[in-house]
C-alpha cells in the first residue's frame, strides 16, 4: 500500500461519505424546519395537535349521499364525507371511463373511416384540453338547464333542472333484505358455475350456457322473490312544491359535471392504451384464428382481447390512479370531496394547515397504494404463464 493513501479514492469510503452527508443534511433540514415552523405557529397563534378533529365544523355540505351531515357535526365527519365523495366519483368515473375507453379504442380500429375519424377527433379534443376546464365547462352547461319551475321531465319521476337531476327515491320495506341476499347468492353461484363450466369444457369439450344461467340467477331469481314477497320496495317521487322539489333524491350538478368530465377525459386516454394494446397483438394471431374459422366477434373476445389485456393493464392502472387524483379538481366547481371539504374549508376554518394537509395527502397516498395493489394482483393473474 502506498504511504500517501487517499481515503477519498477508496470507493467504499467515498460511498459511505456521500450517504452520511445526505443523511446529515436531511436531518439538519428537518431540525431547522421544525424550529422555524414551531416559531411561526406560535407567533401566529395557530394551535397544533389533532383535537380540532372533534370540534363542530359549523358549515354545511350540500352533497353527502352516504352520511347524513349537519353543520354541528365534527371535522372528522367532514373528512369521512370527503373521502366517501372522492371514492364515489373516482369509482363511478373509473367504471364509465373503462367502458368508454374500450368502446372508443375498438372503434378507432374500425374499418369504417367516418367512425374511426370521429373517435379520433374525440380523443384528440379531450386529451388536449385541460381537465379542470372540461369540468368547469360541463358545470356551466349544466347550470344552463331550466330552473326548477320549468323542469324537464325525462320519464316519470326524473326531472332535469339547473340544480341537478331529480329522481325517485327507493324506499326499502321489511322483506327487501331477503331479495338483496338472494341477489348476492346469485352472483356467488354464477361465479362458481362459470368456473365449473370451464373445467367441464376443458375435460369433456361440452359447453354450458353460462351467460343465461348467470342472468337467471342474478336477475330473474331475485325478481321472482321480489314479487313473491309482495314488492317490498316502493318509490318516493319528487313533487314540485313551491320553489323546490319535495321528496325523491337529487344528483347534484357538481357530481354530474365531475363524473362526465372525469370519465370522458380519462376515457380518451384509456382508448389510446386499448388501441395500442390491440395493435400489439400480431397480425398472425388474427389470421390464424380466422383460418380456424372463428367468427370475428370470437376472434376479438377469445384471441385478441386476452392477449391485449397483458399490455393494457399496467397503463390502465396508472389511468385509474390519475383519475382518482384528478377527482381532487372537484374544488373548482364546489364538489365536496376530500380536498374541497377537509383540505379546503376545514383547513380555512381551523387554520391548522399542517394537520389538514398531512391527513389529505396521506389519504391520497393510501388510496393510490390500494388501487395499485389490487391492479397488480389482477395484472399478475392475466400475465402469460410459462409452463
Amino acid at each position: 500500500m502506498r504511504s500517501n493513501f487517499n481515503f477519498f479514492s477508496d470507493q467504499k469510503f467515498r460511498s459511505l461519505f456521500y450517504q452520511v452527508l445526505v443523511v446529515g443534511l436531511f436531518a439538519l433540514g428537518i431540525y431547522y424546519l421544525t424550529i422555524t415552523t414551531a416559531y411561526n405557529l406560535e407567533k401566529r397563534n395557530i394551535a397544533t395537535g389533532w383535537s380540532f378533529l372533534n370540534n363542530p365544523a359549523g358549515f354545511d355540505i350540500s352533497f353527502s349521499p352516504f352520511l347524513d351531515f349537519k353543520s354541528t357535526d365534527t371535522h372528522l365527519k367532514v373528512y369521512y364525507v370527503g373521502v366517501l365523495n372522492t371514492l364515489l366519483v373516482s369509482f363511478t368515473g373509473c367504471i364509465a371511463a373503462t367502458f368508454l375507453g374500450f368502446i372508443v379504442g375498438i372503434i378507432r380500429l374500425s374499418n369504417n373511416w367516418l367512425l374511426s375519424r370521429t373517435a379520433y377527433v374525440y380523443v384528440e379534443f379531450c386529451r388536449n384540453v385541460p381537465l379542470i376546464l372540461q369540468i368547469i365547462l360541463w358545470y356551466s352547461i349544466l347550470l344552463l338547464m331550466p330552473r326548477i319551475k320549468q323542469a324537464i321531465e325525462l320519464v316519470n319521476g326524473f326531472f332535469i333542472t339547473n340544480r341537478g337531476l331529480y329522481s325517485p327515491r327507493p324506499i326499502y320495506e321489511s322483506g327487501f333484505s331477503i331479495v338483496f341476499f338472494v341477489f348476492i347468492v346469485g352472483i356467488i353461484a354464477s361465479i362458481w358455475i362459470s368456473k365449473w363450466a370451464k373445467k367441464r369444457q376443458e375435460r369433456t369439450g361440452q359447453r354450458y350456457p353460462v351467460l343465461w344461467t348467470s342472468l337467471g340467477l342474478i336477475i330473474l331469481l331475485p325478481l321472482i322473490i321480489f314479487f313473491l314477497l309482495g314488492s317490498p320496495m316502493t318509490f318516493e317521487y319528487p313533487v314540485l312544491k313551491g320553489f323546490n322539489f319535495k321528496g325523491g333524491m337529487v344528483i347534484r350538478p357538481e357530481f354530474i359535471a365531475m363524473f362526465l368530465a372525469l370519465s370522458i377525459y380519462t376515457g380518451a386516454f384509456i382508448s389510446e392504451t386499448v388501441r395500442s394494446g390491440i395493435l400489439s397483438v400480431t397480425k398472425g394471431q388474427r389470421e390464424a384464428s380466422a383460418a380456424l374459422g372463428l367468427k370475428p366477434t370470437w376472434i376479438m373476445r377469445l384471441i385478441i382481447i386476452p392477449q391485449a389485456l397483458r399490455v393494457i393493464i399496467p397503463p390502465l392502472t396508472s389511468q385509474y390512479l390519475n383519475l382518482t387524483k384528478n377527482s381532487s379538481l372537484g374544488i373548482a366547481v364546489g364538489y365536496a370531496d376530500l380536498v374541497h371539504g377537509f383540505g379546503g374549508i376545514s383547513l380555512n376554518q381551523t387554520g391548522q394547515a399542517i394537520e389538514c394537509m398531512v391527513i389529505t395527502m396521506a389519504t391520497y397516498l393510501c388510496i393510490s397504494l390500494i388501487i395499485s395493489f389490487f391492479m397488480n394482483i389482477y395484472n399478475r393473474s392475466i400475465q402469460f404463464k410459462e409452463k
Binding site: 443523511v23 411561526n40 374499418n111 367516418l114 388536449n128 379542470i132 380536498v339 383547513l347 399542517i354 394537509m357
Partner: protein, 379 residues
C-alpha cells in the same frame, strides 16, 4: 394458350376504384358498416349543425345584429334576443388584452411582446434539428430565462412590474416553460439518484418520487400556499407565482424522473461496463455516454409529459393565480360580462388545443424519426 390470344387485363370494376370505390370500401363495406355510417352522419349532423350555427353563423363578433358595437353583455344579440342570438365572441375581442397579458401595465407591454418573440427564437432551435447556426442559438436558449425574467419583472432601469399584474397567457406560458425547464434537470438528478448504488440516496429519491406521484397536484399547490410560509424563516416571503412554480416543478420533476429512468433502463449494461473500463468516472460516464442515449430515446415521452404539465398549469387558478383560465373566470365574474361563460371556456380550450395539439404532433414526428434512425443504425 398462344400469345395472340393474350388478353389485356380488364379495368377493375368502377365500384372499387376512385372516389366511389373508396366510399364503398371505407363507409359501406357491409350492411352493418352502412348502418353505422348513416348513424354517425346523423349524429354529427345533430351536433355539428347547431354548434356551427351557434359559434359562427348566428354569432356576434364585434357588432350585434343591429350593427352596434358590443361593449358589454347587454349589446350581445343573445342577451337582447335569445331566440336568434348565438355566441357573443365580443367578450374575447374586448378583453383580448387581459387574456394575453393579464393586468400588465399598457405602457410596459412592449416588454412582454419582446419576451414572446424571443421565446420563439429560443425554442425554435431546440425543436428543429436543422436550424441554421443551431449551436449558437442554443446558447441563447440557455440565457433566455434570465433575459425574460428581467424584461418581465423589471430591473436594469426597467420599471418593476409585480407578478400580481401578470396574467392570462403570460402566466400560463411562464409556468409552463419554466416548469418544464426546471423539471427536466430535477428529473435527471432524481432518476440517477433512484438508480444509484448507494442505498440511502436511492431510498431518498424513490421516496420522494413515489410520494409526489401519489398525491394530486392540487394538494402540492395548497402545500405551497398554506404550508410553505410556515416553513420559511421570518422575513422571507415568497411570491405567489414562485410558490406555484415550486409546486409545479416538484410535481413535474417526479414524473420526468420516471420517464428518464425508463430511458436509463433501456441502455444495455455493456454501455456502462465499456464506459467504466475506459476509466470514466461516474459523472463522466453519465454525462458523455449514458444520458445522451437515454434522453434521446425518451424525448417523445418527455414531450408528452410536458404536455401534461402545460395542461396542469391551469390548476393554479384554484390558489388564486390568474392564468389563461383564471383570467377567463375573472372576466366572467364582472357584472358587465356575466353569463357568457361558454364563450370564454371555448376560447380558452381552443388556445390550449393549439399549443398541446402541436406539441403532441411534434412528439409523434420525433417518434417516427427516432424509429427510422434506430433502424438505420441497426443496418
Amino acid at each position: 394458350m398462344s400469345s395472340e390470344n393474350f388478353q389485356q387485363s380488364r379495368t377493375p370494376p368502377i365500384a372499387t376504384t376512385g372516389l366511389l370505390g373508396w366510399i364503398r370500401l371505407n363507409l359501406f363495406s357491409s350492411w352493418f358498416n352502412s348502418i353505422l355510417t348513416i348513424l354517425v352522419i346523423y349524429l354529427l349532423y345533430q351536433i355539428l349543425v347547431p354548434f356551427l350555427n351557434w359559434s359562427i353563423f348566428a354569432a356576434d363578433f364585434t357588432h350585434n345584429y343591429l350593427g352596434q358595437q358590443i361593449i358589454d353583455r347587454t349589446f350581445c344579440t343573445r342577451v337582447m334576443d335569445p331566440e336568434i342570438g348565438g355566441a357573443c365572441w365580443a367578450i374575447i375581442f374586448v378583453r383580448f388584452y387581459q387574456f394575453i397579458y393579464g393586468f400588465y401595465p399598457v405602457e410596459e407591454v412592449w416588454r412582454v411582446n419582446i419576451v414572446y418573440s424571443l421565446l420563439v427564437i429560443a425554442v425554435a432551435p431546440l425543436l428543429i434539428e436543422k436550424f441554421p447556426l443551431r449551436k449558437y442559438f442554443l446558447y441563447f436558449t440557455l440565457i433566455f430565462p434570465i433575459i425574460a425574467y428581467f424584461l418581465l419583472a423589471g430591473g436594469f432601469g426597467l420599471a418593476h412590474v409585480s407578478t400580481k399584474d401578470w396574467g392570462g397567457l403570460l402566466v400560463t406560458l411562464v409556468l409552463g416553460f419554466t416548469g418544464i425547464a426546471l423539471a427536466f434537470p430535477l428529473g435527471i438528478v432524481l432518476a440517477l439518484g433512484r438508480r444509484s448504488n448507494l442505498p440511502v440516496i436511492s431510498m431518498v429519491c424513490t421516496l420522494f418520487i413515489e410520494f409526489i406521484r401519489g398525491v394530486p397536484l392540487i394538494t402540492l399547490l395548497f402545500f405551497g400556499m398554506v404550508m410553505l410560509p410556515l416553513f420559511l424563516p421570518e422575513g422571507i416571503t415568497l411570491d405567489g407565482l414562485v410558490r406555484c412554480l415550486i409546486a409545479v416543478t416538484l410535481f413535474q420533476g417526479a414524473y420526468m424522473a420516471e420517464v428518464i429512468r425508463g430511458g436509463l433502463q433501456a441502455i444495455p449494461q455493456g454501455q456502462y461496463e465499456a464506459a467504466q473500463s475506459v476509466g470514466l468516472s461516474y459523472w463522466q460516464m453519465n454525462r458523455k455516454i449514458i444520458l445522451p442515449q437515454a434522453i434521446r430515446i425518451t424525448i417523445p415521452s418527455i414531450v408528452n409529459t410536458s404536455i401534461g404539465l402545460f395542461k396542469d398549469t391551469t390548476l393554479v387558478l384554484i390558489v388564486g393565480q390568474l392564468d389563461l383560465l383564471g383570467i377567463g373566470r375573472a372576466v366572467l365574474a364582472a357584472q358587465t360580462w356575466m353569463g357568457l361563460s361558454i364563450e370564454v371556456y371555448v376560447f380558452v380550450a381552443v388556445v390550449f388545443i393549439i399549443f398541446t395539439f402541436s406539441m403532441s404532433r411534434y412528439s409523434l414526428y420525433l417518434e417516427k424519426k427516432l424509429k427510422t434512425g434506430i433502424n438505420m443504425g441497426a443496418d
